[in-house]
Every structure is written in structure tokens, then in C-alpha cells.
Symmetry: C3
Subunit: 207 residues, 3 copies
């Protein structure tokens, strides 16, 4: 199994767990769990594949992704009560899923020989859009847009590091692992220590 395929499975699994936990917070039934899990798990990669004009969307071509996401949803349905603070779990699992999915998206675009800007954008889209769909559908404020958090910035930085590393001749697998580490490190710093970029502050209007 290639590294990109492995990253795809891993990001599907971890995003599915976040989707199921969000479903548990909304008190859905088991099929609702599976729906939100699958949406979160394959949403970002689906947009990436449509934008890149791939012949087939990855989860239509390979059924294991959907089965994996559904399995994760069922497991969470029967075990989420064991977890003490589900919101914290959503946030931390989401940080791993983000890092892995950015890496998977970057790898897929590199493999198609796309230019650097597109590679970075596909990494960002794959990483952030599944979680965005999850939050918009359930009616929560998207994590992507929460003030004073690094989120898309982490995705962008990870993908940029991968592109830079590749241009310096690093092996593709190492570049993707580096991408995931940078993305996750920044996101974890943001969650744990409050790292953030300055947000826009309007001055009072001139009088």
C-alpha cells in the first residue's frame, strides 16, 4: 500500500471519529452517526477529486473508505458515553485528521504533477472542507473560522513545507510526513498554548 493510500485511510478514519462525536453531541441515531461520519471523512477529498478532474472520486473507486467511516461511526455510537469530555476529543482528533488529510491531499496533487500553488490549495481543501461541511450541516460555528485559532494557517504551512521540501529534493514520503508534523505541531500549539495570528481589529471610525 502506498503512503498516499495509507494517509487517505488514516484521515478517513480519524475524521469519521470526529464526525461521530459531533453526531453524539447532537444526539442523532446510529444512521445519523454514519451519515455525519461519512460526510466528514470523505467531504474534503471529494471536493479535491472533483476540482482536479480525476476520473473517479476516491471513495467511489474504493469502497473501503466508506466501510471504514461507517465502522468508526458504529463504534463511537456504542462507546462515546465512556468519554468524559467529548468536545475536547473532537478538537484533538480533528487536529490529527487535519494534519493527515492535508498530507494526503498534498500527496495526491503532487502525484498528478500539479504546480506548487495548486498543490498547496488541494492540501488545504482536503484538510479543511470535510470538517467545514460537518460543522455547517450540524449548525455549529466551523472550527475553520473560530477566532484566534490557527486552522487553515496550519494546513497552508504544512502543505507549503512539503512543496519546499520536495523542491529541495527530499523524498516524497518524507516530505509528506514533514507536512503532517508541521501542520499538527502548529495546530496543537494553537489548542494547547493559544498560538494564533493577530486577528483583524477595526479602529473606531474617524469622528
Amino acid at each position: 500500500m502506498s503512503l498516499v493510500t495509507l494517509l487517505d485511510y488514516a484521515s478517513v478514519l480519524v475524521f469519521a471519529l470526529t464526525g461521530a462525536l459531533v453526531a453524539s453531541r447532537a444526539q442523532l441515531d446510529i444512521v445519523g452517526f454514519a451519515f455525519i461520519s461519512c460526510l466528514t471523512a470523505v467531504g474534503g477529498g471529494t471536493v479535491r477529486d472533483l476540482l482536479l478532474g480525476r476520473d473517479e472520486v476516491f471513495w467511489v473507486a474504493d469502497l473501503n473508505h466508506i466501510l471504514l467511516a461507517t465502522g468508526a461511526a458504529v463504534a463511537v455510537f456504542f462507546s462515546a458515553h465512556l468519554v468524559e469530555s467529548r468536545l475536547r476529543w473532537v478538537i484533538w482528533l480533528d487536529s490529527f485528521a487535519l494534519a493527515i488529510a492535508v498530507s494526503a491531499g498534498t500527496g495526491a496533487a503532487v502525484a498528478m504533477g500539479k504546480p506548487a500553488v495548486i498543490v498547496v490549495l488541494m492540501g488545504m481543501a482536503t484538510g479543511s472542507l470535510g470538517g467545514l461541511m460537518r460543522d455547517v450541516v450540524v449548525g455549529e460555528v466551523p472550527l475553520v473560522l473560530k477566532q484566534g485559532e490557527l486552522y487553515i494557517t496550519c494546513a497552508m504551512s504544512g502543505a507549503m513545507v512539503a512543496v519546499a521540501a520536495l523542491s529541495f529534493g527530499l523524498a516524497s514520503g518524507l516530505a509528506l510526513i514533514l507536512c503532517a508534523m508541521v501542520c499538527w505541531g502548529l495546530r496543537a500549539g494553537s489548542i494547547a498554548f493559544g498560538w494564533h495570528l493577530p486577528v483583524y481589529k477595526s479602529r473606531p471610525p474617524r469622528s
Copy 2:
């Protein structure tokens, strides 16, 4: 006209009616009615066609769908005041549209020779995503996610029954009709008698 084509038209018409009724509840103008009607009517099938990589999205290939949805919107604009409880109408019409659209989506995927899991998923997507877009855009809680209702479960059950029936050698048309009946029967039971699956209930955290 083939059965799948007929189902496509019927689901477009009924979903358009629900979209127009939702627009009437939001007090839009006549063009807003047409917009929400068309979005609801073709939203699910559009996602299905993009995911399946069909050469052309069904309503771009055949203009009648859009004309039908627009006509339904205009008719509702001038007659919705005759209806006493518009929310009840939305919910019941939506149940018919769901059943027909699941059947149409299932039929389209079967016709392309897709494997069973994809057939079921395409039935579910065609049935549920138009209504989901309608509700997200208008800012209501999606029917798909309302607690204690069978919704995607009905879609899934209908599509699964169709796949099972086909594998037992039932004629394709009969399988699709069976699919719509199972889907609608479950949904109607949910609306009328409160049928539902157990929802997720968190236990209090261990102290």
C-alpha cells in the same frame, strides 16, 4: 419514457413543491421561490451525477427538469395561501419526494453497473441532499438531522431493499417501486406514529 426518467421527473416536481413552500415560509419573492425550488429539486441528483462522473448533469442535458421545477414554484407562489398548514405539507410532500428520489438515484446507479454499496449511497445522496441544501440555505434545521425521526434510515432501507430484490432476480422496475414503497412507508410511519431508532444518550460522566 423509461421508469428511471419518470421517477426523475416526479422527484423534481415534488421536491420543487417543498422548496416553494419553504420559500413561502421565508416570504421570498417569486424569483426566490424558483431559486429554492430548483435548488431542492435538482440538488441531490446533481451531486450524484458529479460523483458518478456522468458526462452531463441530468438537468443540463434535459431542460424539462428546470422548467418543471420553475412551474411548480410559480404555481405555489399563487396558491400557497390556500393551504392551511404549510409546514405539514412540506413534511408530507418531502416524504414522497424522498421516496421517489431514492428510487431514481438507485435506478441511475444500477443502470451504470455500480457495486451494491455505491448504489445504496447514490440512492441516499439523491434522496437526501436536495432537501439538505434547501434547509441549510434557508437556515432551518435540516430534516435529515432532526432528532427522533427516521430520515436517512428510510433512504438507506429503500435502497438496500432494491439491491436485495435485484440480486434475487426481481425485474428492475419492480425493485425500484418496492424501494420507493419501503422508503415512504418507513418515513410515513415516522411522521404519523413517531417511529424512530434509539438516539444516542450520553450517560452522566463518571464522578
Copy 3:
């Protein structure tokens, strides 16, 4: 540079400005500005390209669109405090972006030889969906659906005028300019003078 290309760039630029202003109202950081700007700027055209089955989405084929939108976001991040009433700016800039994007979308569909109904729909989709995504993601009431405003009506009218003008033999460039003028004129009249279509008013239920 052809007129359609020029219109594409112009609509990307102006929509990106509106996206960045909306981001400033939500007090995002600079990467959040860029994200919302890009989403607004290319959202409508992306849906159009996917629906029309173009070989490549326009901004994947030509990177300048994304660079332009990102530049606009950065410029707004550092200068939005100079603006006194950002909501008024959003609304007025959005009216220009709408007019230009409707024209660009109409032109793209005409160039592919699509029938009139599809041309009008593609103009409407290109014009309205980027702003719709912006508003749904940020959690505001979509401008498209605000009561008592002409919005999609302007898009539809502009695109219809272009189609009519072309069928009377007007040169394609002139038809597109006419389209933008009609669309903007109606929208400006709606903003400045409150022009609107009658909205749906339910009569009290019969007793």
C-alpha cells in the same frame, strides 16, 4: 485578453474584496481573510465549470485568479479600518461583483454553445453562488435570500437580456456589457431606492 477572461478576473477581484470585508466583520486572521476571499471569488465559477463538465476548473487552469483574490484579501486586512461603514461597502461591492460575474458566467456558457435556458442558469449560478457560500460559511443570512431585495432577479434579468441581445444579432462583447449594466442597474435600484418584487404574503387561514 478576451472580454470573458477580463470579466472573470474582474469578478474574482471584486468578490474577493467583499469576502475580505465579511472576514473583517468576523474578526478573522489574515489567512482566514484569504480563505473567505478565495471561496467567494471562485465559488460560483467553480460550480459552473463542474456543471458544464469543463475539462479543468478555471482557477486550477490559471493560477492568477487565486493570487489576485489572495492579494485583495491582504490589502483589505491592512486597510479595512480606513473604511467607515464596512457593511455598506460589502453590499455595494457585491452588487458590482454580481453584475460582472453574471456576465462572465453567461459568456462562458455562450462560448460553449449551450442552449438559452442553460446560459441563463449558468449566469445566475456564477453570479450568486460565491456570495451564497460566503454567507452560509460565515453564518449570515445570505444576501440572495434577504426579503424585499432584488438579487437573483437581477442576475436572471441580466442573463436574459444578453441571450435576447445575442439572438437579435448583437456582438457578443456588447451583449455581455449590456448584461452587466442591466444586472447592476436593477440591483443598485434595489439597494438605493428599495425596488423589489412583491413578496409572498400568506392570507390568514380560512376560519
